[in-house]
């Protein structure tokens, strides 16, 4: 079962998500920064938003460590696959 915890403030998380989304839109279309930096920042923001949903809405922050591991295991596998596929184009 979940560890005893104070319920997160879901509305606050919603505000965070809205702000981050607005930041992404501004970054993508308004700010004059280099393409690669833009890419990096947008990915970072997207992952941050996804983490907020995963940790607070899906309550992963309050679950046992072994459930957290189970939820995360596919990610390194996906990364390995994508990096290997991309490496075909850098040699």
């Amino acid at each position: 079962m979940e560890t005893a915890h104070k319920r997160p403030n879901y509305i606050l998380i919603w505000v965070y998500l809205a702000v981050l989304t607005a930041a992404e839109l501004a970054l993508a279309f308004e700010l004059p920064i280099s393409r690669n930096l833009k890419l990096l920042l947008l990915l970072f923001l997207a992952v941050w938003k996804a983490a907020l949903v995963g940790l607070f809405f899906m309550h992963l922050k309050f679950e046992r460590w072994n459930l957290r591991i189970m939820a995360i295991i596919p990610l390194p596998l996906a990364l390995i696959f994508i990096l290997a596929g991309m490496s075909e184009h850098v040699w």
Binding site: M1, W14, L39, L45, A50, E63, M70, A71, I82
Partner: protein, 225 residues
């Protein structure tokens, strides 16, 4: 069933049994299923990344083919429906089935609206000439390609990856809406969810948040980059 465990509280793992993960079966099953879904979207998203990274030509600039304004609103809508879902979960945790039903209904409507807007977007795109195989000849977008605003070499890949990723995401959202509607009418309305037994809400909620999470990634890498 002939065994004695039928009276056990639905929210606890089965007893008598070893402790396992201390998470009841439905919830554990949903997390396990979501792990497989991550791999499925990893295949589709990974394909997009690999194809785009390895493409010999330029990729279309964001915002030209796809409608950012409508999709940004849609993203916001889906995030709102995620909030309403978690509020439904919090409501039944507090033992308020009426509030739970309200928020669950909001979630269903939000999800259905998302799908509706996506379908509208698809129809719009096809009318302008953007199809899974790329750009249709003689269409509006074909003129942009001729002018050089859109790169001819990669439009085929753009169409293939766009429709596959967003299409399967939309399919998952639709399945979510149908599941929630089913639970709403068969379980939530007749008052079968209580403070002691709301596993179905938590389980479907996990699925719904996952679908939102995938969209958060997709919106960024498909529409904004």
């Amino acid at each position: 069933m002939t065994h004695a465990a039928a009276t056990v509280d639905q929210m606890l793992p089965p007893y008598p049994a070893e402790r396992g993960l201390d998470v009841y079966n439905k919830k554990l099953g949903m997390w396990v299923f979501l792990a497989s879904e991550v791999m499925f979207f990893a295949a589709l998203i990974g394909t997009y990344v690999i194809l785009r990274f390895g493409a010999t030509g330029e990729w279309a600039k964001p915002g030209i083919v796809l409608n950012i304004k409508i999709t940004a609103f849609n993203t916001f809508l889906l995030i709102c429906s995620s909030v309403s879902m978690v509020k439904a979960y919090a409501a039944i945790q507090d033992g308020d089935p009426k509030k739970m039903r309200f928020w669950l209904l909001m979630t269903i409507l939000g999800g259905a609206a998302f799908v509706g807007i996506q379908v509208y977007e698809y129809i719009h795109l096809v009318q302008h000439g953007f199809v899974p195989s790329g750009v249709r000849e003689g269409s509006e977008l074909a003129e942009l390609v001729a002018k050089g605003t859109l790169p001819a070499a990669t439009m085929g890949l753009y169409g293939s990856t766009f429709y596959t990723m967003t299409g399967f995401h939309g399919f998952h959202v639709t399945c979510g809406v149908i599941s929630m509607a089913y639970l709403y009418f068969t379980k939530a309305l007749p008052g079968k969810y209580t403070k002691q037994d709301y596993g179905g809400i938590e389980t479907v909620g996990l699925y719904w948040h996952f679908v939102d999470l995938v969209w958060i990634i997709l919106f960024t890498i498909v529409y904004l980059i």
